[in-house]
Amino acid sequence: MAELGTTTPGGYLLVLAILLPLGGMMLSFTPGGRWAERIALGSTPFGFALACAIAFDVGRSGKPIVYAVGGLAPPLGIALRADGISAVMLVAAAIIVAAAAFYARAKFATPEGVRESRSSLTYWIMLQAIWAALTIIFVGGDLFNLYVALELLTFAAVPLVCIDGRPETLAAALRYLLFALFGSISYLLGVALFYGAHGTLDIPLLAQRVQATPVVWTAAALMTCGLLAKTALFPLHLWLPPAHANAPAAASAVLSGLVVKGSFFLTLRLWFYVLPALPAEKIAIVLGCLGSAAIIAGSIVALRQARLKLLIAYSTVAQIGYLFLVFPLAAGAQSWSAIGWSAGVMQILAHAFAKAAMFFSAGLLAEALGHDQIAKLGGAARVLPLTFLTIALGGLSLMGLPPSGGFSAKWLMLQASAASGQWLWTLPVLGGGLLAAGYVYRILAPALSDERISLVSSPRRSQEVVALALTIIALALGFAPQAFFDFLEIGRPLAVRLP
């Protein structure tokens, strides 16, 4: 384990990947105005290239790449590490942020004749801040450093929710902020106890030292509760639908596709990287049950929504539920845990791309029709074919029909349940798929009818293409080769049961 504290050859890439959006953010803030947009857009290709370089380096060496910041190894210093899932998440985040940036040019370009406008500056700065925070979350190796990154993520996400300033968005943003603050303070309390018990916050060092003591259990419980509140796992999901549905589409896509995954990623880090040695079967079952409840409840509520964006937001609540099935399905060092692990990561990715595409399409649709009432979508597919194609293909992935990333994820989940003999988990997976089919049908069926509908404005082709491109990625994930799943295993610690 000693090598996890020393810098590896490609390690400097991790620092650059973090500093690029941070520097871009500060550079955007100082001159402001149109520079914010230019810098944000201009930095996305570089960020994508860095993420790819990191993924390439991890794949080539077959080991995590590490950077000890300041040349000082943990426990005193802070280390950054990228393993298989970090690299995959970095690439996914870079793609979705870039897509959001290109999509948002239409709405958040600084208007003519103004030097700087409120919503434009806020959007471009917060987008870069979200990107920076997620990058740190994906590669951070120190629990306190990750806390600061979590707060950075919150402070960047909340203003996006209320960016158009209507009272209901302000209320949604405030509720989101309070939930998120509760989440991070609870996480921080766990961090304090971990430090008090073991004198380090470095993830691999902590993993070596932890024992199943009451202090460690308390710390783990506090951190998990905090992260669940931020991830909006049922029953702590109440803040999510109004927040995500009221934000502008260019922001909702990032919030739903990426931001909630940040805190989920840390939950994975906590249980699979910090505490793999803990006998946590019961915790895994509790998390799995909450996830199942989220799948069923979220989908049923989604079925009853009148507004398209709220429906998609409730669908996020349900899809987050699937993520938590990874805890019972990938636990331990069994032959089947790798299947469960692949399923979980695949679900993160498939949902990120499909959901971002659906929010983009919902935004286009609302702009073109002047509303997003599902009941009044009659005939809309005829006038907006590309947008509805995106919704249909994204829906395919959400339902879990082949060929799509969503299908792979759910199929792997079924396989893992079968292999591990935990048959009960197949019920929420299948039930959730059926319910998802129901709500996707609710959108598509009226849209495909013969009614006549008039457009307020016609959508931009470039925005439609961005949304379609993301769904195509979500579908392409369904063809991921075995090498991809092997890549996800790089750096995943296998449980070594404590005596």
């Binding site: 005193l76 709405k107 306190f144 600061v148 707060e151 919150t154 402070f155 909340v158 203003p159 209320c162 158009d164 300033g165 209507r166 009272p167 209901e168 968005t169 302000l170 209320a171 949604a172 943003a173 405030l174 509720r175 902020l177 309070l178 603050l181 509760f182 303070i185 921080l188 309390l189 304090a192 106890l193 430090y195 008090g196 004198g199 109440l238 109004p242 549905a245 009221n246 502008p248 589409a249 009148a306 507004r307 964006k309 935004g363 609302a366 702009e367 002047g370 509303h371 997003d372 009432q373």
Partner: protein, 112 residues
């Protein structure tokens, strides 16, 4: 009882008190105060961890103390954003409530 244990138990009590206030108070500013109480309780836990870690000629472990300083700054930033939101919300409407029922508007905008 040593001062550090006493401070730790004080911290635990503050976390409990803040938790109670955060859940029960309907007014968001009161919730914010409760959140700050929890925050200071958590910082006290860091404080006793630092105090217990006195070694090598130091009367405290400097690492957790430095974390508290960072934490206080972050908590202040959080309070500032929350206060701005609360004030704006109360200017925009008569409701300062966060009750989802009040804000569920079936024909609401927010379409784009």
């Amino acid at each position: 009882m040593t001062p550090s244990v006493l401070a730790g138990l004080t911290g635990a009590a503050l976390v409990g008190l803040g938790f109670y206030g955060l859940i029960l108070h309907p007014h968001p500013l009161r919730k914010l105060l409760a959140f700050n109480l929890i925050g200071s309780g958590v910082f006290l836990v860091f404080g006793i961890v630092a105090r217990r870690g006195a070694a090598a000629g130091f009367r405290f472990d400097p690492v957790p103390q430095a974390m508290v300083i960072t934490g206080i700054v972050v908590a202040f930033a959080a309070s500032a954003i929350a206060v701005a939101l609360i004030l704006r919300l109360s200017m925009e409407s008569r409701n300062v409530t966060l009750d989802p029922e009040v804000w569920t508007r079936p024909n609401g905008g927010g379409a784009t």
